[in-house]
Symmetry: C2
Subunit: 231 residues, 2 copies
């Protein structure tokens, strides 16, 4: 049961949605917050707690409690009036919404500094993302190990995507090659890219979804906020 985010933005440049997409009503920022709710819920679950209220979730994240309820209500009714939410139940519900109630096969392109760090990032595995391949175009990198995974030549990208039914790719290559690799990923059948390259990698009318993370942009956001927070 697909939900469609409305097009606008919060903490990132607006992504264009060129074509028509069904059912609006889900703010993009809501999706980010759901992932944060999930993070808090999983932490609470570890602490053994059973129930939680929207106000408590909101407080932990510095949000308005009404916003938490509104975000959830985009997808259904998960709470009990006068009581709150079951932590286990809400955890599962949000995972189903986000699509992480199953595992995703992911490949990583680029075994430089950032690629190495990302390949070992525990948070990915914990949310059901399985790294099934790492690729690099640099011959000197081929055959080296990143944790348990051996770096493969870029030539094997397409066959791996097909064999492992890879849907998501993490792009951690230099800006200069990002566009070409992204095109190759799309042609190979990958439907989502998490792009760390500081360039626009967005095909106009395709079915490819891109989420951008530009670390320098984040630091610039921080600089602006610091400069503009001193009265």
């Amino acid at each position: 049961m697909p939900f469609e985010p409305t097009d606008s933005d919060d903490e990132e440049a607006g992504r264009p949605s060129p074509a028509s997409n069904p059912s609006p009503n889900v703010p993009v920022a809501t999706v980010t917050r759901l992932a944060l709710y999930l993070r808090e819920l999983q932490q609470l679950q570890r602490s053994g707690q059973q129930r939680i209220q929207s106000s408590a979730i909101a407080k932990r994240l510095g949000l308005n409690d009404s916003l938490v309820r509104r975000d959830l209500s985009c997808f259904g009714q998960f709470g009990q009036r006068g009581v709150g939410y079951s932590i286990v139940g809400l955890t599962k519900a949000i995972q189903a919404i986000l699509g992480t109630d199953r595992s995703w096969n992911v490949i990583l392109i680029g075994s430089g500094n950032l690629g190495r760090a990302l390949s070992g990032y525990r948070g990915f595995n914990q949310q059901g993302f399985r790294l099934v391949g790492v690729f690099d175009s640099d011959p000197s990198k081929i055959g080296t190990k990143l944790g348990t995974i051996t770096v493969s030549p870029l030539e094997e990208l397409e066959s791996t995507v097909e064999r492992e039914k890879v849907e998501l790719a993490i792009l951690a290559v230099p800006a200069s090659s990002a566009a070409i690799v992204a095109q190759r990923l799309e042609d190979a059948g990958v439907t989502g890219i998490l792009n760390f390259a500081p360039v626009t990698v967005r095909s106009p009318g395709s079915g490819l979804t891109v989420v951008d993370v530009d670390l320098a942009v984040e630091l610039q956001r921080l600089a602006f906020a610091v400069v503009n927070s001193r009265g």
Copy 2:
């Protein structure tokens, strides 16, 4: 230096008009987009181009051209009607807005996988961020080198912040220690934190500014977008 947006009549001589206030009329998303405009402008500058139009910037980023002009107009008038924007001039203007027209001393806490990758990230230096220290609490890490910088014990954090006049910190420590380290950073006088730890590092009423980057959250956003784009 902060900017005061529109509202009042504040056009004297076509110069950007700075002021002494936080930013009331500046959408949060505008700041992120400004950093993206800057990225594109710097790329254009390298290609030798001299002028650019809002429509061309917009096209490169998949945005509406009116939005580009509106974003810029929050801070002044930087273009010429009928002509466009000087690439060099607009680059400098955006850097002044973001606060990256000078250099910032930054420290990094955490020399794990992610910390190592971040310490070598070229994009930071390119935008005027100078890494002046790396800290870790793990004794086995102390004294090891990350590029040209030697990892120092956490005990030296405060003295380094003072000596180097450090304003920004990049937090790349495990979730379990993030809150304590963040508090220490604030007490030491750091005013901005780029937080990679998957926990809320919130300071209630303090002057501390935090920008969060949770890599697992980004991948979940991607999963949601992929699941909800088919149909």
